[in-house]
Each structure stands twice: as structure tokens, then as C-alpha cells.
């Protein structure tokens, strides 16, 4: 079984992003980056599938040359090789999906595992777009994946409860929170990862026009909420909710 997993390099979610004074983007100096957390679940799942069914895990990232760091991390976890589609532009999800579609054409994976959402751009689109371009079935927001007989049975986190769906492979799965516990890269894993193959391509070489369908014109900070008051006790709280906020 050939498993493709996608990895996006994102700003460290524990750091507060700052907006450039000219509103053209966010400040990148001094910012730390890491693998998108949902992609950690995705890579873990890809490796777990390989451990159960055999095969190969290929990880792909679309982004700047520094993304090799996140790809090496994925290989240190256990992925076999990596592909970087290098671009310094900040692509929209549609462009990423069309780039990935070209990689899929070359690699012909049986299953693709992605994150449900990149926690920088918060779009939650790429996997579904890719599935549509490939005309493959999709199972998003997975918390449980069973593979057998050429199908994946996927438990999904949905509003109001959980849902279960079966997709015939090849198909696309996106990872949600409860899917697994991503493993840490071991020291031998990190050493090994340095020697694993990492190919670099460009969108141009893949013949993909990455001009955005959604153009970002301006970055702004949201309005601040003002801190309110610390109250003395429950009685005061009830009084304020009733007589000031009028919500009781």
C-alpha cells in the first residue's frame, strides 16, 4: 500500500502573530515554525497504516525551502521519503490542491492522509478540493480509520455526534483530534531521516499555475475585547447579570 501524507509548515501556534504596519501580511522575523498539528496526526496515521498493511509512506509539502525541516521531522517519525514542491508564494488552498493533484498523478498512492485544517490560514479546504479534482471519495474529520479489502471505514467527527462512512480506495482521509497520538521522532529516527530521499520540484515543473483564486488584500487585527471587572462573590455576579447585563 502506498500512502501519501501532506505536511504544511505553519507558524508555531503558541506564538502570537503580529501584523505588518502596512497590513500586507504578518511579521515573519523571529517567528518559529512547526508542522501543522493536524498533519502530525495525519503522518502518524499514515505510518500506522503502513505498519499494519505494509508499503511506503511518502510525505509532501508545498512551501518554502525551509519546509524541508518539517519533512525531515515526518521522516524521522517513520515516513520513507519526501517531496518538496518549492514556492515562496503563499498559495491558496485551490493552488495547493492542484499542485498535489499532479503529485498524485506521478505517485499513484492508494490512500492520502491530510490534516483537516492548517492552523495558520484556517481554511479547511485543501483535501476536499483535491478529492474533487481527482474525483475520489473523501472522509474528512476522521477519529477512527480501519482499512481492509480495498476500502477504508472511517469514523468522523460531525456536528451533533459522530458519523461513519466507507470509502473505496484510492481515497482521501483528513485527520481530526482524536485520531491517534503522534509519536515523537526518536534519535535513531532523526539520524536515519537525514539519509532518506527528499526530492524538490516546483509548481512550474508540474505545470501548475498557482495564481490565486482568492486574493488576500489586507491583514488587520480583530477588535480587542475590553477586560471587565472582577466581582466579589456569587451574589454580586447574579445581581450584575440580572440588572446590568439583563440576561437572566
Amino acid at each position: 500500500m502506498k500512502i501519501l501524507a501532506t505536511v504544511k509548515r505553519v507558524t508555531d501556534p503558541d506564538m502570537k502573530v503580529k501584523i505588518k504596519p502596512d497590513q500586507s501580511g504578518v511579521v515573519t522575523e523571529g517567528v518559529e515554525y512547526k508542522m501543522n498539528s493536524f498533519d502530525e496526526y495525519g503522518v502518524e496515521e499514515a505510518i500506522a497504516i503502513k505498519e499494519e498493511h505494509g508499503g511506503e509512506v511518502v510525505v509532501v509539502s508545498v512551501g518554502p525551502s525551509e519546509s524541508t525541516k518539517e519533512l525531515r521531522t515526518a521522516m524521522a517519525m517513520g515516513a520513507d521519503r519526501a517531496i518538496l514542491v518549492e514556492t515562496d508564494e503563499d498559495l491558496d488552498s485551490d493552488a495547493v490542491a492542484r499542485v498535489l493533484a499532479q503529485i498524485v498523478e506521478r505517485e499513484e498512492p492508494d490512500v492520502i492522509v491530510m490534516g483537516k485544517q492548517a492552523v495558520d490560514s484556517d481554511r479547511n479546504q485543501t483535501a476536499q478540493l483535491l478529492a474533487s479534482y481527482l474525483d475520489w471519495p473523501q472522509a474528512t474529520f476522521a477519529f477512527d480509520v480501519e482499512i481492509g479489502d480495498g476500502w477504508a471505514t472511517v469514523g468522523r467527527e460531525v456536528d451533533g455526534g459522530t458519523a461513519t462512512k466507507r470509502i473505496k480506495l484510492p481515497g482521501i482521509i483528513t485527520a481530526d483530534l482524536r485520531l491517534n497520538e503522534p509519536r515523537y521522532a526518536s534519535l535513531p529516527g532523526i539520524m536515519k531521516a537525514k539519509r532518506k530521499p527528499l526530492d524538490t520540484l516546483t509548481p512550474d515543473e508540474l505545470g501548475v499555475d498557482v495564481a490565486p483564486r482568492v486574493e488576500v488584500l489586507k491583514f488587520e487585527a480583530p477588535p480587542e475585547r475590553e477586560a471587565g471587572e472582577i466581582l466579589d462573590d456569587v451574589d454580586e455576579l447574579i445581581d450584575r447579570l440580572k440588572n446590568e447585563a439583563n440576561v437572566l
Binding site: S93, A97, E157, V158, E215, L217, F219
Partner: protein, 323 residues
């Protein structure tokens, strides 16, 4: 004419109220395109949903009644919506940014060769149609333009009031999706968490608990308070991760977004990712034993106290107030 098509969401034969917020968004968008707002209902035996939707100031409700739509599958819904948008001259297709909307709309966008805006909070004209959307856990708001003729939008429903009935009713027309069946996808089940409580995203009051509650049993304190106020219950990712409560309760950047009249954050530190899902609430009450907890920087009313002491007291005292 450039119409706006709203894809309705329903569960158990009932319209999901978030659809009414998407209609409000659509009405604002239609003012800019000069077109009509039309609603598409995909389902099986949900005539009631289609009838109900005809009352909210839309021009027409299209109802595709097909057994293939009995249970939601993106692979069936998306091509039907694409076909409908093309046949009805809709240049904008929108739906709530619910889990269904998130799963479905990108597939519609691909089919319509449209750019897609996730979580729109604003649509306006400024030398062409522009949208605003939050990202980076709500730390940044961007203004974006969709460069394609067709546009697909998931609507952050907490930023739009529900559409109101106008007293008129729009025609309901049945519409044939002309579906082709697929052999690569099967619906197995939807396991609904049955609850008497209002849905989180609709509730006027939300009571949420965090890791500081230490166990699932202790969340009974949260549900008891919610029940006195007729509220919904929520939680942080840390509480979900710890296995205290179901994932469906998670509020935040990677969970649900809520904006009730009254939000209680109990034993919640106030991480930016949690704030991303509740900062829009009208009134925020924080109860935390740590006076420096960041949640106090966004709360209107704070109690620096042990939740195990004050929450039961609050619940008891509120019983007589709300009666």
C-alpha cells in the same frame, strides 16, 4: 442575473437554524449582485423543511427529493449543487460553516471552478465584491477578493442574525438533480448525541468547562448550571483531549464557534485557540482560581474562586432567580 444559492442544512427532518444565518448573508450578497436569493434543499421526504424555508424572504426554494440524499454524502451532494448553481445562474453558493458545510463546499468550488472563502464574516462592495474572514485562530482578519466569476462561501453563522419570516411565501419547486450513482462511497451511520439541551451553535446561554475540572464526573457541575439556564454545554480542547467530554463539545479554533448572549468559562485558562471560538459572545463570565488567567482579559465579569465551591452555589441561587 447573478443569483445567490443557499444550500440548506437539516437533520432528522428539521431545518438547522444556522441555515437562517446563511440566508441573511445571502441577502446581503444578493444586494451586491442584484440577483435573487434561492435555496436548495437536498433530502428525502423533507418537504416540511422546504416549506418552512419558503417563509424567509427568499425568491424560490428548490427541493430535490431523492433517496440518494437521504443521508449526507459530499460525493452526491456536491455535483447536484454544482448542476443546480449552473442551471439557476447562481454565481455565489453559500452554506453555514458547519462540519457539513466544511466537508461539502470545497467540492462544490472545485466543480464550479470557483474560489472559496471559508468562514466569511462580512461581504461588501469596495471597487468590487470583498469578503472578510478570520484566520490564525482569530488573531487576524483578512479582506479577500475572489478572482473567479463563481464564488463559494462558507458563512460564519455567529456573525449573522437569523433571517426572519416576512409573511410572504416563496414558491417551492421540485428539482431533479439527475444523479449518477457511485460505487466508491457508502454511508454507514450517523450516531447522534441525543440531548435535551439546545445545540451549542444555537444556544442563548453556553456553559463551558476546562481541564481545571479534572474529570468527566465533575462536568456534572457544568451541565447542572446549563440546565438551570436552559443553556448548551461546551468545553476546551484540553477537556476533550483528557476524555472528560465528547469531541462535539469542543469550542475554539478547531472546534465550534459560538456567540451566545451569555457565556460561562469555568476552569478555563483562556488560550487564544479557545478564545477564537467564543470571543464574540455578548457577555462572558469567567470563573478561575488563578487571578492571572488570560480569560479574565476578555471576560465582562470575573470570579477569582474555586469552581468546586462557587459553581454549585451559583446554580442553587440561580434556580430561584430564573423561576
Amino acid at each position: 442575473m447573478a443569483n445567490v444559492l443557499v444550500v440548506a442544512e437539516h437533520v432528522d427532518g428539521q431545518l438547522r437554524k444556522v441555515t437562517l444565518s446563511a440566508i441573511t448573508f445571502a441577502q446581503e450578497a444578493a444586494q451586491l449582485t442584484g440577483g435573487d436569493v434561492e435555496v436548495l434543499v437536498l433530502g428525502s421526504g423533507v418537504d416540511g423543511v422546504a416549506e418552512e424555508l419558503s417563509k424567509y424572504g427568499v425568491s424560490r426554494v428548490l427541493y430535490a427529493d431523492d433517496a440518494a440524499f437521504q443521508n449526507y454524502l459530499a460525493e452526491y451532494y456536491a455535483p447536484a449543487i454544482v448542476a443546480c448553481a449552473q442551471q439557476t445562474n447562481a454565481t455565489i453558493v453559500c452554506s453555514p460553516a458547519s462540519t457539513t458545510g466544511k466537508d461539502l463546499l470545497p467540492r462544490v468550488a472545485a466543480g464550479l471552478e470557483a474560489g472559496m472563502v471559508s468562514d466569511a464574516i462580512d461581504v461588501f462592495d469596495d471597487g468590487g465584491m470583498k469578503f472578510r474572514r478570520p484566520l490564525w485562530a482569530g488573531n487576524v482578519i483578512t479582506t479577500v477578493e475572489v478572482t473567479t466569476p463563481n464564488k463559494v462561501v462558507s458563512v460564519r453563522t455567529t456573525d449573522y442574525d437569523s433571517a426572519e419570516p416576512t409573511g410572504d411565501t416563496a414558491p417551492v419547486e421540485s428539482w431533479d438533480a439527475g444523479l449518477e450513482s457511485r460505487d466508491d462511497v457508502e454511508f454507514v451511520s450517523f450516531d447522534q448525541v441525543k440531548s435535551e439541551r439546545p445545540e451549542l451553535t444555537d444556544a442563548e446561554v453556553v456553559v463551558a468547562g476546562g481541564r481545571g475540572l479534572k474529570s468527566g464526573e465533575n462536568f456534572e457541575m457544568i451541565t447542572a448550571l446549563a440546565d438551570v439556564l436552559g443553556g448548551g454545554v461546551g468545553a476546551t480542547r484540553a477537556a476533550v483531549d483528557s476524555g472528560f467530554v465528547p469531541n462535539d463539545w469542543q469550542i475554539g479554533q478547531t472546534g465550534k464557534v459560538v456567540a451566545p448572549q451569555l457565556y460561562f468559562a469555568i476552569a478555563i485558562s483562556g488560550a487564544i485557540q479557545h478564545l477564537a471560538g467564543m470571543k464574540g459572545s455578548q457577555n462572558i463570565v469567567a470563573i478561575n482560581k488563578d487571578p492571572d488567567a488570560p480569560i479574565f482579559q476578555v471576560s465582562d465579569y470575573g470570579l477569582v474562586a474555586d469552581a468546586f465551591e462557587v459553581v454549585p452555589e451559583l446554580t442553587e441561587k440561580l434556580k430561584s432567580v430564573v423561576e
